[in-house]
């Protein structure tokens, strides 16, 4: 509990546009070190975009993001790559390297960032694959895996270097209940035992809330609500309640911004 005020990542007054559409409008949030922070919100709000901004793959239009006190978008290319070696990111699609086998994928970060001998790398790879239940699939190519397996293999790759900071983009999507349980245990174990800072982006509310220390609910480019899982579950705010209970009707828009439905349906025929 002494680490509670230690900030790992700080997002300050972030604005970001995709073409005409403003994805983030003056967004600020902090991610505490050594905790599991969940970022939730309707799909299309820009959760993936936020992770890419943190990783320095996109540049903010305004505001800044700092990781370990370093402002990401002002770093030189070389410094940025050094910083990224300390981050792990699980992509929504898995993004395994298709020209390598599963075990080569997991070994890749170890090969490029460490001087460990092959036998040690081999053992580490086996341990990581065992943790995600894919030790038996180590010689398969990514094309031979199902979506859920590919995501787990990608997770093994993301944790290969034991990074300080892990970003999970939709880790639970497409997982069967058993794999889901294993992943939840794995993510919370990595956090509690090794002290990684974790950011989880997810739609699976109950699973995510069960392991998160702190939750940000994002909608329309702003932080809609934040707090510990219990606080959000008990929230009186109708917008928060709608999202947490998964109700289709309510103040949070389900639709991508558009003209009104009646207008579009009948507008043309008059």
């Amino acid at each position: 509990m002494t680490l509670i005020n230690d900030t790992h990542i700080e997002v300050n007054n972030l604005s970001f546009c995709r073409g005409e559409r403003k994805i983030f409008d003056d967004l600020s949030l902090t991610i505490p070190r050594g905790k599991i922070t969940a970022i939730m919100g309707p799909s299309g709000t820009g959760k993936t975009t936020l992770l890419k901004l943190i990783g320095g793959q996109l540049t903010p239009d305004q505001g800044s993001i700092s990781v370990d006190g370093e402002v990401v978008h002002t770093l030189s290319r070389r410094r940025l790559f050094e910083l990224r070696a300390k981050m792990g990111m699980l992509f929504q699609s898995g993004a395994l390297f298709t020209d390598m086998t599963v075990s080569e994928n997991v070994a890749f970060p170890l090969r490029v960032h460490t001087d460990l001998p092959d036998s040690v790398i081999g053992d580490l790879v086996l341990m990581k694959l065992n943790a995600v239940g894919l030790r038996g699939a180590s010689e398969l190519k990514p094309a031979e895996l199902s979506g859920g397996m590919a995501r787990r293999a990608a997770l093994a790759r993301a944790i290969a270097l034991d990074p300080d900071f892990l970003m999970y983009d939709e880790p639970f999507a497409g997982q069967d209940p058993i794999a889901m349980g294993v992943l939840i245990n794995l993510i919370s174990h990595l956090n509690r035992a090794l002290g990684h800072t974790s950011v989880i982006v997810s739609h699976d509310i109950q699973e995510t809330l069960s392991i998160a220390d702190y939750v940000y609910l994002i909608s329309d480019g702003k932080v809609l609500a934040q707090g510990a899982p219990d606080q959000l579950n008990g929230s009186e705010d109708p917008r928060v309640e709608q999202f947490m209970k998964g109700r289709p009707d309510g103040p949070v828009p389900f639709h991508y911004p558009a003209q009104s439905f009646e207008e579009q349906l009948f507008g043309g025929s008059q």
Binding site: F81, R84, A85, M89, F91, A95, T98, P109, V112, R157
Partner: protein, 260 residues
């Protein structure tokens, strides 16, 4: 009218910006501390995919073009009674023009399009982003080996094309049409100069190889990461490369042989 101008302006700005991005790609991928231990295996692999796998099409095309040249040269020259010069004609047309140009066109179609599609698909499946997040620069890891492999393969392929072509020409002229082989080869040796013809051919193929592979990796890296985006980028690689090859060939020929 104003809208048309606006569109034209926007298009030109986009083009200029694209040229800028292409230059940036080149500097980011090639200006680096050399790391032979990691680069060499990657380069060898790309030399195989880009160079070795292009050999079949290059050899077959070279053979047929050489044979056609031998046949055409013979039918034209025989009217003037100078069919002995067919070796000289075949060799000069191949070494100066056809080997660099046709090899480059085939290279754009065979290797350039493959490189664009591969890099485009890596972008679409977030593999490039994945390399970045692992802390490995895709410019060095993916783009640079392909650039070097294309740059190295093209002159070699062009030489092979010329050699096979000359052999094809001799097959037709000497073995089939019965020209005395001594005069076929002697005429050729007497007229093809190393510094003028061979070297200029090699320079041409170096330039073409560089331009083709640069266009290919840039189009792949810059594509819209969807299926249509990749298909458009692949088409653009072949079209832009072909136009660049033909335009540059005229320019280079004028510079090399134009001082009358």
């Amino acid at each position: 009218m104003i809208q048309l101008l606006q569109k034209l302006g926007a298009k030109s700005v986009n083009r200029v910006a694209a040229v800028g991005r292409a230059g940036q790609l080149l500097s980011q991928s090639l200006i680096a501390k050399p790391a032979p231990m990691t680069m060499l295996p990657l380069l060898v692999r790309q030399l195989y995919f880009i160079g070795v796998l292009s050999l079949v099409i290059i050899i077959v095309s070279g053979l047929f073009i050489g044979m056609v040249l031998g046949l055409q040269g013979y039918t034209i020259l025989v009217d003037y009674g100078s069919e002995q010069a067919v070796g000289q004609m075949v060799a000069l047309s191949l070494v100066r023009e056809l080997a660099p140009v046709v090899t480059a066109l085939l290279f754009a179609g065979r290797a350039g399009s493959a490189v664009t599609a591969e890099i485009g698909l890596m972008k679409a499946t977030e593999q490039l982003a994945s390399y970045e997040m692992i802390g490995v620069d895709p410019m060095r890891r993916i783009i640079a080996p392909r650039l070097w492999a294309g740059f190295i393969s093209m002159p070699l392929l062009s030489m092979i094309f010329a050699i096979v072509g000359i052999w094809g020409g001799s097959l037709v002229a000497v073995d089939w049409l019965g020209i005395f082989s001594g005069s076929f080869w002697a005429n050729m040796q007497a007229s093809v100069s190393f510094s003028e013809d061979v070297l200029n051919g090699v320079i041409k193929s170096l330039v073409f190889g560089f331009v083709v592979i640069w266009i290919a990796v840039f189009q792949g890296n810059d594509c819209v990461p969807t299926s249509e985006g990749i298909s458009q980028a692949t088409t653009r690689t072949v079209v832009y490369s072909s136009l660049a090859i033909l335009g540059l060939d005229f320019l280079l020929t004028a510079m090399m042989f134009g001082d009358f």
